[in-house]
Every structure is written in C-alpha cells, then in structure tokens.
C-alpha cells in the first residue's frame, strides 16, 4: 500500500549529455532539440544542465562531463548515446575520475535503438526524448555502489584436447599455473592428429603436433584427463567447482607402460569409426594411434569379449605389469578452478545428408577425413591412395568443394578450410599417383599467408578447376566412356554449359559444423550458442575469445570454422586472458545482487528453489531465507517473485524500473496525448 516511488531525492542535480555520434545519431534525431527539451521540460525532474556533443565517448566529451560534475556539483549523469554494452564503462569511468560514484551514471541508447532503426525524424526525435526522460527518472533512484571483488582461483580448466586446447593448456602451464586438460577421447590430439599434411606448407601434421602432445602430457602443471567428460559446473568466475567424469579405462595407469602387448593379443577387431573414419580397424583394447598421449590404452567395454561373454581376458593374461583391471568403475572427480577455456572443436558435416552426391551409396565417394586417412602413412593403406577395393589406384579424381557449406539447404556459412584442404588433396593426388584431378569449386578462397601462392602452385601442377556447384555424382553411364566410372554432373559457369565428367574417385570436402552436443555443453557452462550452434563471443571483433559469462572463454573451431593457425592463436589468446585474471588475483563484478530484508521475509519459501545458482538458503531456525551474494548472479528472478516484497535488487531496483517506465511514458507519440501526459509534471 505504501509508495515505493516517493521523491525523497528530488534534490538531485542531474547532468544530461546527448551525443551526435557524428551523423550516426544526429542524422535522424534532432539532437539540439532533444537537448533543449531536456533542459526545459526535465528541469523540474532535477536536470540542471543538458549538453550535446559530436562524440561524447571522445576524451573531450568525457572531459566535458568531468568538468561539469565538478563545476556544477552534479549528483547524477545521464548520457544519451550508444548501447550501454559499448560505452557504459567509458562514462562510468569518466564519472569516477570526477569523484562521482560510477553507478550514478546512466547510459541510454538513442543510436542502436533509435537513430539506426528509425527513418521518421520526428518520431525518432520524440522517441529519443522519451528514452532520455526514462533515463533521467531512472537515474534519480540509482544508489552509489561498489563493484564486488572476487578472488581468482589460480587453476584453470581446459575442455578439449585438440590443437587449440593443447596450445591454451601449454601457455598457461608454462606460466606456472595449474591446468586441468579434459578430453573425451582416449588421447589428446583431436582432428589434427588424423591429418597427413597441413596446408600450405605441407609439413607433416603428426610431426608438428606430436611434440606439443607430448609436452602437454608430461608437463608438471598439466593434469591430463582423457577418456573424461565434464558433468557439472557450479560457482562463478574465479571460483568454479567442476565435476569431471573419468570413464573406466580398465587399465591401471600407474602400472601400464604402454607397451601395446594387450592390443596385439586382443582377439576382437572393431571398425574404427573415430580415428580411422571407418576405414580401418582397431582392437577392443586400444590406443587410437601410436603417438597417443597418454600412452595408456582403454578397453572398449561394449565391444570387449570378456565384458560381453564373460570369457577371454587375453589382455589380462598377457599384460606384463598386471595393469588390466576389469573392475574399474567410472569415477567422479571434482576440481576447483578460477577460469575455464572451452576448445571443444567441430564435427564434420555428414555428406550422407546430400544423397545426390552418393556418399555411402557409391563406394568410391570419400569424405575429406577418409581421404586424410588414405593419404596418411600411418593410415589403413599406409598412405597409398586407392579405391575402396584397397588396390586400384584412381586415374581420375574429382574433388568437390563446399559440401554442406555455403548452401542454404545445409549451412549458409563458409567452412573456411575446404578450399585450401581441397588444393592440398589435389597436390597430394598428383604427387603420389599422377592422376588427373578436377577441383569443383564455387569460388576460390585463399585469403591467408602463403595460401594463394599454394593455389598458383597447384594450378601449375595441372589440376583442372571447374567453377560450378556439382549437381550430382552418379554411376549411371549414359555416354560412351562413362561405364564403370563415377560421373560428376556440373554446370561449368565459366563456359556456361553442363558437363558430365567421369572419374574414378570422388572426394567430398565436407564442411565443418558445430559439435552435435554443443547446445548442451553451452548450457552446462552457462554460455550461449548462435543459430548454427557455434558458441557466441562476447564481441565478434573486439572480444572474440570471451563469452557473456565471466571466466568462461572459447577458442578454436567451437566458435566457428577455422584453420590451424587461427585455432592456435585463439588458444594462446584465451590463455592470455586467463593469465591476466590470475595475475590480477581478483576480479571486480557488477554489483547487481539480490538481498532479503529479514524482518519482512515471512519464510514462505516461494523463492527457495527459484535460484539455479543455489544462492538462496533457508534458515529453518529463524524461518527466513537469505541470499548468498557471492553465488547470486543478479538475474532478479527472486526479487520479482517475492510475494512479500522482501527481496530487493541493486542496479535494477523496483524504484529504478518503475520510474523509468514513468519517464518513458512522459511523452506519448500523439501530440494530443503528449499534452495530456505533461500535466503530470505541473
């Protein structure tokens, strides 16, 4: 019944600053008019001065504010400019320099939300006024606040053991900080460990990767946790508590020497869908590849004869160190970390989704990953490029770009690596088989150091390039010479005619896409995903490795398709961000928190299970609830839910929002109603 909104602070001295942002705002909004209006109409709302300026965010603009605060004893500042997400901090800092509590400043957006989105100048100007008066009413109820300081736990969790994760882990570990590196597979290495050569330098993938894997594996500051998955994350920046499920290896890592005898003796062969992309076999007890880190094998329980039939135990019999342990169970390990780096990588687009390309139906249509394995010396064919029959060397090879990429039926985006990868393939085919190679592309994208040179080189080698999206791959021969071949039907857009090109082997450069489970992972770590399910950066340009969630960073292909150099540099970038936090020892957080007035709390317990961060505890003895400010994330859900109005929230209090509503409604769009409303101020 009593009134939340009385004007106890009617004495505020408010300074209003309207930004032109060059012509960004002034082009549509009549900035001088807004300024004048604020000065006159909002006078009795505490506005003592209103200024407009070309670029408020410029140092001169900021100095203007600082000067006014001192000279005119401003107690509140409202800046009408761009989105708070861009410059809130800028203006808060300006106030701070002028010894005004930074939280007594309000930034209202008349650019992103007015000038950039509206065309009618009058309407835009009116809206700018309304938005401004909303800010003025709101700022009257701001309270001076102090940012919350949170200590940073020096350990870091890195999720994903691909090249990005490895890089991030090493950087942090080398700086002398503890890192937990978690990998879902038995070994770190990721996709890169499956490649043969890397473009454009063509140096052997394994040769450059293995040393990094090894040093990650042996690093005193890196706790390597493969065959493991993160199951729960609680806490907040600086103080995360992470639960990791260590899947049963059935191998005692303290005893295992990685000699590999168990793998030799294991009678059970399994098609290796992961590492060999289905082209080769592994055993039921295995390490994915010889250079695996760690060297310890795992037993593939669903495929292990002993686990399925109850007899066998060959590995156990032959293990020289009795390292096999069939009774191992999954373990849950809990670690405390201050920061988290997600480097969970990508999945390959499944070309089966494009039936007319025939993958899975036509034997000699291969995916890029399959082809990597074919060409890999350590792969199933020891590096021999042969057809599915395992012996025939192809005479004509067609490489199709943009499979599942740049295609509105699948993924709109460009997968970034396919062009270079396809060129690499073309080169390798030529080099190893001398076969005729066709590359079918939409347009060639070779925008990085030494990339285009490589393209030129492949051109000179005589690879044939056909510009046009391939319509279909078929084995239905229609013309002489097509029998027994795969025919690639394509419109050559350079010559402007349909062509049918018979080949022996087709390689599909399937695009990259986000991990099948990236949405769940995002939810687990409290970050968000784009429409394509790539993780979203805090800012796509200016803060590409941070997320909206403090202390959770993203790097590599989990944020979108990237080549190796970019992934590696993002890994380093994320590491650098983490290290700054750690070195600072503590970080400051927005003081947006809820708190409960215990005298008013009735202990009804409505709020008790509304908090996903378990920040609300109930004291049965006093029959009241309490908010733990450290756990509170400031969403305000409990504030809105409390039936007794006993919970209040800083930064977004009822008073602030209520009066902002009033301010916004001060000026209605229709002239007539405008007058009506203004009486409220008489």
């Amino acid at each position: 019944m009593s009134d939340e909104l009385n004007l106890e602070n009617a004495e505020e001295r408010i300074g209003v600053y309207v930004c032109h942002c060059g012509t960004n705002i002034a082009g549509i909004v009549d900035v001088p008019e807004v300024r004048e209006w604020a000065e006159k109409r909002l006078k009795n709302r505490g506005v003592v001065l209103a200024r407009d300026y070309k670029f408020m965010c410029s140092s001169l603009g900021q100095e203007l504010i600082e000067k006014d605060i001192k000279e005119h004893q401003l107690t509140r500042v409202v800046v009408a400019a761009c989105s708070p997400h861009l410059h809130e901090n800028t203006f808060r800092t300006a106030c701070k320099r002028a010894e005004l509590n930074p939280y007594l400043c309000e930034l209202v957006s008349i650019r992103e939300q007015v000038s950039w989105v509206h065309t009618d100048k009058q309407a835009a100007t009116d809206k700018a006024k309304a938005v401004l008066s909303g800010g003025v009413e709101r700022v009257r109820h701001h309270q001076p606040l102090e940012p919350l300081r949170v200590p940073i736990h020096p350990a870091t969790l890195v999720v994903g053991g691909g090249i990005t994760g490895i890089q991030a882990a090493l950087e942090i570990a080398d700086a002398g900080r503890r890192v937990y590196l978690v990998e879902r597979e038995p070994s770190i290495g990721g996709h890169m460990s499956q490649f043969d050569k890397t473009f454009p330098t063509l140096d052997c993938s394994a040769c450059i990767l293995t040393p990094k894997m090894v040093s990650a594996g042996m690093h005193p500051n890196i706790t390597l946790m493969t065959w493991s998955e993160v199951t729960n994350v609680s806490g907040y920046v600086g103080n995360f508590v992470v639960t990791i499920k260590q899947k049963a290896r059935c191998v005692k890592t303290d005893l295992c020497t990685g000699c590999g005898i168990c793998q030799e003796k294991c009678p059970k062969k399994v098609i290796d869908e992961v590492y060999e992309a289905g082209l080769g076999y592994r055993k039921a007890v295995y390490t994915p590849f010889p250079q695996a880190v760690p060297k310890f094998p795992v037993i593939d329980i669903p495929n292990c004869t002993y686990f399925q039939k109850g007899t066998c135990k060959a590995c156990e019999k032959f293990c020289p160190t009795n390292a096999i342990d069939f009774n191992q169970k999954d373990e849950e390990i809990t670690v405390e970390v201050g920061n988290i780096v997600l480097a969970t990588g990508f999945d390959l687009f499944d070309p089966r989704r494009i039936p007319h390309y025939g993958y899975g139906r036509l034997a000699n249509v291969f995916t890029n990953l399959e082809f990597e394995r074919l060409t890999n010396a350590a792969g199933p064919t020891n590096g021999n490029i042969v057809l599915r029959d395992g012996k025939t060397t192809p005479k004509v090879v067609g490489i199709i770009h943009c499979v599942g990429s740049r295609d509105r039926n699948y993924n709109n985006y460009c997968s970034a690596i396919c062009c270079m990868q396809s060129l690499k393939f073309a080169h390798i085919v030529k080099e190893r088989t001398g076969a005729t190679v066709y590359n079918f592309y939409i347009d060639m994208r070779t925008a990085a150091k030494a990339y285009d040179e490589f393209y030129q080189r492949v051109l000179e080698e005589g690879t044939l390039f056909v510009r046009g999206r391939v319509a279909e791959v078929t084995d239905a021969a229609r013309l002489p010479g097509e029998e027994g071949k795969l025919i690639i039907q394509v419109e050559d857009t350079l010559v402007g005619k349909q062509r049918r090109i018979p080949v022996d082997m087709v390689v599909l450069s399937a695009g990259l896409q986000s991990r099948h489970d990236s949405k769940e992972v995002a939810k687990l770590f409290g970050i968000s995903c784009s429409a394509d399910a790539w993780f979203i950066e805090k800012h796509p340009k200016l803060d590409p490795v941070s997320t909206m969630t403090d202390g959770v960073f993203i790097a590599g292909c989990c944020t979108g398709p990237k080549d190796i150099p970019n992934s590696v540099s993002q890994g380093s970038a994320a590491a650098a961000r983490v290290l700054t936090y750690i070195d600072r020892g503590e970080i400051t957080l927005e003081p947006v928190r809820a708190s409960i007035n215990e005298t008013q709390c009735s202990g009804c317990r409505i709020c008790n299970n509304l908090c996903p961060f378990n920040a609300i505890l109930f004291h049965a003895d006093r029959m009241v609830s309490e908010v733990n400010a450290a756990l509170c994330q400031g969403c305000g859900t409990c504030v809105a839910a409390c039936p007794a109005g006993a919970i209040s929230g800083t930064g977004f209090s009822n008073e602030q929002i209520m009066s902002q509503i009033e301010g916004l409604l001060l000026l209605n769009l229709n002239g007539a109603r405008t007058q009506e409303k203004e009486m409220a101020f008489a």
Binding site: S2, L5, H85, G134, S528, C635, I661, E662, L669, R673
Partner: protein, 155 residues
Amino acid sequence: MTDQFEPVIIGFTCNWCSYRAADLAGTARVKYAPNVRLIRMMCSGRLDPTFVMKAISGGADGVLITGCHPGECHYIEQNYKALRRFILLKRTLTQMGIEPGRIKLVWASAAEGVRLATEITKMVEEVRALGPLNWDHHNGHQPLAISHQPEEVAA
C-alpha cells in the same frame, strides 16, 4: 506525425539476448516501428507483473516482454519463470478487459535482431488496430509519486 493513432508500447528486454538483439538490429540498420520503448533488465525472470500494470496504468497501449529462447537463458532457466508469469498475468488482464493482443511475449536470441524488429513492427500494427487503451484517462493519471496521491490533485 500523421493523425493516425500511434500506440506507445513499453518493451522489457533481457540484458543477454533480447537487448542485444535490439543492439544487433541497430548495428545492422534493420528498420522497425518507433512506437516501442525498451527497458533493459538483467533477465526476463526479473519481470515483475507490477511493471506491466504500471505501464498500462501509466498510459501504455501495449506491453512487449522479451527474453532468451527457452533453454538458452543466460541464467539457465529463469525465462521459464517469465513465461509462467506471463501466462497467468495475461489471463488476469483478460478478465480486466484488456485485449490479449496488447500483451506479448517474444523470445529473441542475441543473434535475432531481424526477428525482434519484425515482431515489434507486427505488434505495433496489432495494437494500432486495437486503438488507444488510455488507461490513465479513465482511471485518473498517476503522477510521478504515484500511490496515495489523491487523484484529483494528480489529474
């Protein structure tokens, strides 16, 4: 302005998705109707039905509530609370004679600037068709210090 009725709609956005969607619409120069005035909250879970009542009684012709898509809440699940409140609130307001079209809930992720803009323009047209609500006119306008102000003193 033309003499066609220009509704005023108060929009509540969450800091992580819908407000950023609005920013994105801005950076992308997507045009939409100027009738909506946005308020930023940390989360749609902050939405207190009192705010909606306040907006209506203060003269708004409609209220738009926005937040992250279900399952994508920055605070994990708080937008479900917003959804629950919205449904119950809407039923109550309908009993009060307020047309359902005046109160809308729209999910918009940080990536959906265009979607938000389209929804806004759509709603503005719907509310325009419904005509002015003018609540403050028939219930006595509330001045800035609202309650316990004698209305005639206020109006």
